[in-house]
């Protein structure tokens, strides 16, 4: 079986995979990083969002072997060990979740949204840019508030 080697959350990682193995399977099943969730498995819900070479992707729609030599950040690697990222803190503070299943994808998308659109995000921008992430509990209201607050917190550093 072919082998894929990449950097995951700052550390080198390597695994033997099949051609059809998806990035999300590599992360969850080979590397034990189960913070990345599979919600729909049809490339729609965004629960599996991770950063690949700095860009948000749906890891259920990327082949593991396509990531050879790449750099992946998952929800586990967003903040240093023992700390949480300002965006995670904002979701906690603003109650941006109910069941929490979509939350890792929401947070990874939110952090990438800040990279693309800057720290000052109005509600319309957040809602528009969140089209790739589906939540079945919250009605999005607090998620939007959390992302705006998280972006502002990232600006403060």
């Amino acid at each position: 079986m072919p082998r894929v080697s990449l950097t995951v959350n700052g550390k080198p990682a390597s695994a033997e995979v099949e051609g059809r193995t998806l990035l999300v399977q590599l992360l969850r099943e080979h590397l034990g990083l189960t913070g990345t969730h599979v919600g729909c498995d049809t490339s729609q819900c965004g629960c599996c969002t991770v950063h690949l070479d700095g860009k948000g992707v749906k890891s259920c729609t990327v082949l593991a072997l396509a990531c050879e030599g790449g750099t992946v950040t998952t929800i586990e690697g967003l903040a240093p060990e023992g700390k949480i990222h300002p965006m995670q803190e904002a979701f906690r503070e603003h109650h941006g979740l109910q069941c929490g299943f979509c939350t890792p994808g929401m947070i990874m998308s939110a952090v990438e949204m800040v990279r693309r659109k800057g720290y000052d995000l109005d509600e319309r921008t957040v809602r528009k840019q969140l089209e790739g992430n589906i939540c079945r509990c919250t009605g999005y209201h607090n998620i939007v508030k959390a992302i705006q607050a998280g972006a502002a917190a990232m600006k403060r550093g």
Binding site: T42, S43, Q44, K58, T61, A66, E68, R116, G132
Partner: protein, 274 residues
């Protein structure tokens, strides 16, 4: 998903060799349509040839009176390109409306038009602007490229390398997105150039097509009012749970009017010398 062998060639020549050798191999660009289809077992291949390592196929440049976009350029890059925004703002706006941000980071223009989904956005721009599809063998005019439902003029093993868009005088894309998928329930791309006006319609038929009656009327007078008495025959248009053929025909007319109005106002606002 059935298993397959995975190949990531380092050069276009190697990619062409790999894909020419095997009937049951398939090219993959961003994979945003192909991987979901494989997962649903709607498609099965012995091997995938990933074009992701071919840096020469990625990038945007201005070439005289045209914008040339490499086949492996993701939608997000087209949406964010200052060069595209200056020359063909309608194209940047169209790219910004494809799928969602995560799809736009990965999906490519070459992959989109090779797939020729009847509800995809890019085919409307390619046909509406009268673009040229460049492959590793030849150049194909947009009018000859889209042949039918998921069908193009590409030969087996032919690789798209770039798309060349002539810069129009004015253009706009107006889309009614299907609310769940963000694909075009109907999308209309209108472009006014020296040679006349082109109107391309996606989402409504089995393949993107030109709305000739509207083109003739708009070439005479580039004004939404010129479309008042123009009708699109719903016969042969798509009909499904989302919209009937009659409704789609109606949407084409409404969206064409909106696109003309938007094109007129954008050309008025961007009429700055130089």
């Amino acid at each position: 998903m059935y298993d397959f062998s995975y190949h990531k060639p380092a050069s276009l020549d190697e990619a062409a060799r790999l894909i020419a050798k095997q009937d049951e191999f398939k090219l993959v660009a961003g994979g945003m349509s192909l991987i979901p289809a494989l997962k649903l077992r709607l498609a099965r291949y012995a091997g995938l040839v990933d074009l992701g390592a071919l840096a020469a196929l990625k990038g945007i440049r201005r070439e005289g009176g045209a914008i040339v976009i490499g086949a492996m350029t993701p939608h997000a890059d087209v949406a964010a390109s200052a060069e595209v925004a200056r020359a063909i703002p309608a194209l940047a706006a169209l790219a910004e409306g494809i799928g969602d941000p995560l799809v736009r980071n990965r999906g490519t223009i070459g992959g989109s038009i090779a797939n020729a989904d009847p509800a995809a956005d890019y085919p409307a721009a390619v046909l509406g602007l009268g673009a040229t599809v460049v492959t590793h063998r030849r150049e194909i005019a947009a009018d000859d490229f889209f042949v039918g439902l998921f069908k193009t003029a590409l030969e087996t093993g032919e690789i798209i390398t770039a798309v060349r868009f002539p810069i129009p005088r004015a253009a706009a894309y107006s889309k009614f997105p299907q609310q769940a998928s963000r694909f075009a329930l109907v999308g209309v791309f209108v472009a006014q150039a020296a040679g006349g006006v082109r109107v391309a319609v996606t989402g409504a038929g089995p393949s993107v097509f030109r709305f000739r009656e509207a083109e003739a009327a708009l070439t005479k007078r580039f004004d939404a009012a010129a479309l008042e008495s123009i009708e699109l025959d719903p016969d042969g248009l798509n009909s499904d749970i989302h919209a009937s053929a009659e409704y789609r025909a109606y949407c084409v007319k409404v969206l064409a009017r909106r696109a003309v109005a938007a094109a007129r106002s954008s050309s008025a606002s961007s009429a700055i010398p130089g």
